[in-house]
Symmetry: C2
Subunit: 582 residues, 2 copies
């Protein structure tokens, strides 16, 4: 049985950074070769970053990526890595999308995979299953491939697949089974969702069984606008045995020695909807020296996992967009406290400016709690009381009620943006998913910001995250960053005397489950009542969510951690008269 | 030859308003029956409004629409309209989209058409070609139909098709040709674009020739978030003769008498990718009394057409979202002047509040020009000088340069939002497409608003629109609404002394063609230079457009009038390191 030493390069590319992504491939390939690997596998669209969205319609982009791929093949050989097979995702130029005489642009480019070997590109594969649901629009961009590529490496037949192919039964993995391969490669750009990692292992096992072969699954890490990629790369044997599993959210080289069946050949040509193309690379490879101990990363708790997703998304949005620092409003409440600590964990306290902007309705404990968090974390803390500005507006405009409440929030937004303009910080918005859902926020007020770290975190989960982060600090012998009072006190926007969130909203432990049903799972009024929720409350909540759509449309991106996040994932009209009850 | 009197009901449904849309169908059908029509045809998704977007994933919505369709069939018969065949677009419940074991939701509902006749629903058709480009995401929502439905009405075979079907050669129209029909119905939700009406007639002619039959094309009118539908319904004979054509942007009943070939039958069953289903309604219909004079609406100039699109989009966004009035900043400049006049034309001067918010950098002529426009149009004009508020911020924060410029714009935004909160007006943003493209605006400043009427109008076109609107007023014996000085003076943001747009931007007549190439047509650096643009300028403009993506992501919707509008139509990552030149 031939032994292949396979490296899964769980890396963090940046969309559009062809030079930087190529450099990453070269760096990690050098490490793999130094470790004696015969095969190194990079994620989906490694070269372009993922998802490139409408960049695929730009001929110049497709051409530059194609040129970068050929340059990369040459450079890898020059690096002395020509003897290692390098699998890398890229964008194949099938000609960019154009408008035909009868208007529908025919989708041009391919979501493609290339094998770089000996300075050449001996094999490619085009993604067969194109996701067009949730956050994905791949029918907009790509033509599906209909050929399964099988390369013979070191006497082993290796089938090549891309991302969505692994989520579909009866697709390329079934064809790989017919083609009698020993290993199936799956390269992915699979966005993080809470508990998705619990789905992945059984999924990979199903495909390993379907292909009757070992499956090597690699996924990228890092943040890209609304998406966070968590890695969780793994190798699973035909019988479902987990042979190795990488950590989440970290760049890593997951190296495994695989004893794989000698290629026996198999039926070629047409196999149902796909045909098989076989490419010969080598009949034998040098026996790897020594043996590598397989890695089995621990699975973190839900809170730890979500926290790392939020930190990763925030760090990469800041870094990949060229910022060095962030500024946010620190109210003493739990949302801004959690957001501040995420920022501190992401880019360091010295790069986080937190501004306390008390009005006459701000309680003493709020100011104290904000200052206390600053003291515990060491972030750059400032106080900018807003009453002078509030009064300047109130003396010139006759405002009352909600208008005055929103005025305070908007003045805070103006101050944050002024500091951003003056000092170059990225503004972080501090709203949570529950607030975005019911519209419990002020447009152009507390919603201002370039990025919203907890946008997809329901209030009740956010409260659990705060407790987890403090406990985790204690467990590591550090000071818990979030003041206990911030966690314990009843939430309030403090925009009028004695205001509490519960004046306008149901208790969060009641509200969040209704929102999970309505927003994440499209349940209707009847279904929510059948699930045991109060009818009047359900009606009130649905109405609040529907009428807040216009606000959500103008908010900053934030990292998706749930089954359905606001943004690309949930596309509802603003103008929408549908009401289940009226 | 049987004669059918056919009515094309060019109507204005509202997304989600099942009751209201059903009422529209009943009202217009009564008119058609009163006019002696045998067949009345409504637009695509008439019942649900179009596009319903992710509402299709909500079981409750799909079920309510299905129930409304059956109720409508009954109600039409009760109205005495049972003898008239009514063709109406709806959402067929094929079961809502769900997540399968292996994750990809299978697309459930159909973009469907139903024939209501004699209180029953004797025939349906499912859209065959699903657009998934530009603003369309129909692969996300629908399963394509693979059966062409042909109904025999009054002894004539009538084929039924939906929207995108007409844009594809070799599709349902070709099948209709094989099936030997006398008339093809095409129901549409076809969004307006400048000059699209010039493409429609040749398109319908190509399909009429392909089908060898008369084609009756009906399109909706009205605004839905980013989209405006312009109607332009028409009837075209097999030989390409235009038999009737409706006006753009107006609800109308386009009635024509069509002498059509007696049904000769034809091959049934499978015809390539589609099969044919034949449904019998009637072998003869009563001879229509008298004859109707066909309507041929005249084609307006580009400026008149765009103006009506902007007025329609604005009027419907206000009305369909339950607002009665709007508020906007009136600076004396051309953008806010044009936006104000659009609002006046859309909802009347008494419902338009315009606020002049001069700072110390505002020129006298600006204040005069704003007041003059108010006088000419009769809108509700107010002045709110901002210097006190500006000073309140400047005494509390140490700001300079751009931060001070943006501060003024943001204080204006706060004032507009305060008036909106206090008085219930919808805020209109006044930015034009050129500004959105290059980011020449202040986020949360001049960009605030719930709707942006000129968002997709390049500055040079906006200037032409201003002149056209004034000339048109004169031609109608009215006062030109826009002060000549507003049109004539060099554009300035007036955020610092003597500031001119040309300090930061190339002249608009140079800038707009570069933007048309880069934004609307995805041309790259080389292609733009080859088109004769200055290389350094091209590089500067591309950079400005790319780096302003984050601002555009937080802006209000506005009516699409160009080939590619910002929003659903153009989906680019914010985090994007691709640069053609650096």
């Amino acid at each position: 049985m031939p032994r292949l030493r396979v490296a899964l390069a769980q890396t963090n590319p940046t969309v559009g950074d062809l030079a930087g992504n190529s450099a990453l491939v070269r760096e990690w390939t050098r490490r793999a070769v130094a470790a004696g690997c015969h095969l190194v596998v990079f994620p989906e669209m490694m070269l372009t970053g993922y998802p490139p969205e409408d960049l695929v319609f730009r001929e110049a982009f497709v051409a530059a990526n194609q040129a970068a791929l050929h340059q990369l093949a040459t450079d890898l050989a020059a690096d002395g890595c020509g003897g290692c097979a390098v699998v890398v995702g890229y964008l194949d130029a099938d000609g960019p999308a154009r408008v035909s005489a009868d208007a529908a642009p025919h989708r041009g480019p391919r979501d493609a995979l290339a094998v770089l070997y000996g300075g050449q590109i001996p094999a490619t594969y085009f993604k067969h299953h194109l996701p067009n649901y949730g956050v994905f629009d791949e029918d907009r961009y790509f033509v599906p491939g209909d050929v399964l590529t099988v390369v013979r490496l070191g006497g082993v037949d290796v089938a090549l697949t891309v991302c969505e192919d692994i989520w579909q039964a009866g697709g390329p993995f079934a064809v790989a089974g017919h083609a009698n391969v020993g290993l199936v490669i799956s390269i992915n750009g699979s966005p993080y969702e809470l508990n998705k990692d619990d789905m992945r292992l059984p999924l990979v096992r199903r495909r390993a069984a379907e292909a009757g072969a070992t499956v090597a699954y690699v996924n990228m890490v890092g943040g890209q606008d609304e998406l966070v990629f968590d890695g969780d790369s793994m190798v699973v044997a035909e019988d479902g045995t987990l042979l190795a599993r990488g950590p989440q959210f970290e760049e890593t080289l997951l190296v495994t020695d695989l004893d794989l069946p000698t290629a026996a050949g198999g039926p070629d040509g047409d196999l149902g909807e796909m045909s098989v193309r076989r490419v010969h690379l080598s009949d034998a490879v040098p026996e790897p020296t020594g043996s590598v101990r397989p890695v089995f990363a621990e699975q973190p708790t839900d809170e730890a996992e979500v926290w790392r997703a939020l930190v990763t998304g925030t760090r990469d949005y800041v870094r990949k967009n060229g910022f060095r620092s962030v500024v946010l409003a620190l109210s003493g409440g739990i949302d801004s406290a959690v957001t501040a600590v995420i920022a501190v964990d992401a880019i360091g306290p010295q790069n986080v400016v937190a501004v306390s902007m008390p009005s006459r309705y701000s309680s003493e404990h709020s100011k104290d709690d904000a200052a206390e968090l600053a003291k515990r974390t060491g972030l750059d803390y400032r106080a900018e009381p807003i009453q002078d500005m509030v009064d300047a507006f109130l003396t010139n405009l006759s405002l009352s009620g909600l208008a005055v409440e929103n005025l305070q929030a908007r003045i805070r937004g103006v101050i944050l943006m002024a500091l951003s303009n003056q000092e170059g910080h990225l503004v972080l918005a501090t709203g949570n998913k529950t607030e975005y859902a019911v519209g419990y926020s002020t447009l152009y007020g507390d919603s201002v910001g370039g990025y919203a770290p907890v946008k997809d975190v329901p209030k009740t989960l956010l409260q659990r995250l705060a407790q987890w982060r403090n406990h985790d600090a204690v467990a590591r012998g550090e000071t818990p960053p979030i003041p206990e009072n911030t966690i314990a006190k009843p939430p309030s926007a403090e925009l009028r005397p004695g205001q509490l969130d519960t004046d306008s909203l149901p208790p969060y432990e009641v509200l969040d489950p209704i929102l999970a049903g309505y927003v994440d799972h499209d349940l209707g009024h009847e279904q929510l009542i059948a699930a045991g929720h109060d009818a009047a409350l359900v009606e009130q909540v649905i109405r609040m969510v529907d009428t807040a759509e216009y606000k959500r449309r103008q908010t900053a991106p934030g990292p998706k951690i749930s089954y359905k996040a606001f943004g690309r994932d949930r596309r509802l009209p603003i103008t929408n008269r549908f009401r289940e009850r009226t």
